[in-house]
Symmetry: C2
Subunit: 203 residues, 2 copies
DNA sequence: CTATTTTTGTACCGAACGGTAAGTTATTTT
DNA sequence: AAAATAACTTACCGTTCGGTACAAAAATAG
């Protein structure tokens, strides 16, 4: 009558790896968006049947949200590492060039699933759309905080509005996602990044 | 036996205005995207039945493409008028500030339907996605030509790469569509526009 | 071994999808 | 008035949608 079962290894073992399956689901959502992805698309890509999907991940909406979590926790993610750079300019630089590389990487769909996963969407997708908006705003908030720190460190002029600077950077990054989705190359986005940095205030 | 019927006013007259109905369809596609919009959404908003829709507009895909045509031909469109401004800087300025105003106008859905109408989408939407990509590239091409003209007129330095400048502007405009779609205000986008202009080369 | 637990494949659910056949209604032409 | 034309309403088409009931299968626990 032990109250808490430890790792629960009783019963038939799962025949697929949840993380691998989630990776596959992410790729489909990334390429087709939430509304454009059907359960058949998902089960085919994940190599499992619908009951297995529902038992392991809940439903389509929860699967999407878990896929987004995976997306943001990936080692190849460029956002959080860029925030750690020593100067505000370097933060922006690494973020823009990181985006240019990552969003055009052909080992996965082009662009950014947080931007293009549920932009204009049905009412059924309203929850996931809100979740993506929140994540985008959180990213911008992190940028703003980083730039406010830079102002305190006299790394950015006091006259700079950290919020506007963060929103400008977020806007360019999101625009780059559209460009990548439309077929822009790494080099083309690097040129955009270089030009976008011209607007960045120097200390 | 006159071969060509003129205005074809024989038969029962159409009970709805095609242009008004197309406006309604555009608004639904704008808000929900191609995949997220159902025929029921459309017929309800347009105030007609499905057979009327099919008789007047072909099918869902053709209706979408006609709605996009309407969108781009609207009087409130800011893109083409901005191209006519006397200097390259003013072109960019009017385009960015025009976008800030237009994309946050609450008399219609926020953002830009050419950007968000079919970004990530199902295979059924592949044609309309391609059409939207083409329209975005055409817009950027028009910007590039305008900036090349500016170089010839010594309105822009010869060192400027018109294509990169056009792509930068396109990127910021597309990013502003995402921002507007996420709830950004006119004022916030105007601040972004002001900052984005800092990267623009002065003559 | 048997009992229990969990996953598996199959087969199915009602609802909604995009699209259409068919007959009625309103208008012009003769 | 009668014929011709085109849009109208209704009711339906086959398919796919997201989601699930159920029993066989595979593991552990006793």
């Amino acid at each position: 009558m032990s109250a808490v079962s430890c790792t629960q290894n009783v019963g038939r073992p799962r025949a697929f790896d949840m993380n691998t399956a989630l990776e596959k689901a992410l790729e489909v959502f990334w390429r087709k968006g939430y509304d454009g992805t059907s359960l058949s698309d998902l089960t085919e890509a994940m190599g499992i049947n619908k009951p297995s999907l529902y038992a392991a991940f809940g439903n389509k909406e929860q699967l999407f949200l878990k896929a987004i979590e995976l997306y943001e926790s990936r080692p190849c993610a460029f956002f959080l590492p860029a925030l750690e750079k020593p100067t505000a300019y370097q933060v922006a630089e690494h973020m823009l060039y990181g985006a240019a590389t990552n969003m055009t990487d052909h080992s996965h769909p082009q662009g950014c699933v947080v931007v293009q996963g549920a932009l204009s969407c049905s009412e059924a997708a309203a929850t996931v759309k809100e979740a993506l908006i929140r994540r985008r705003l959180e990213g911008q908030q992190k940028l703003r905080q980083r730039f406010e720190r830079a102002k305190q460190e006299h790394d950015l002029p006091a006259s700079v509005d950290a919020e506007t600077l963060a929103r400008y950077l977020g806007t360019v990054l999101q625009g780059m996602a559209i460009q990548a989705n439309s077929g822009a190359t790494t080099e083309q986005l690097q040129q955009v990044a270089q030009l976008a940095l011209q607007a960045f205030p120097r200390p």
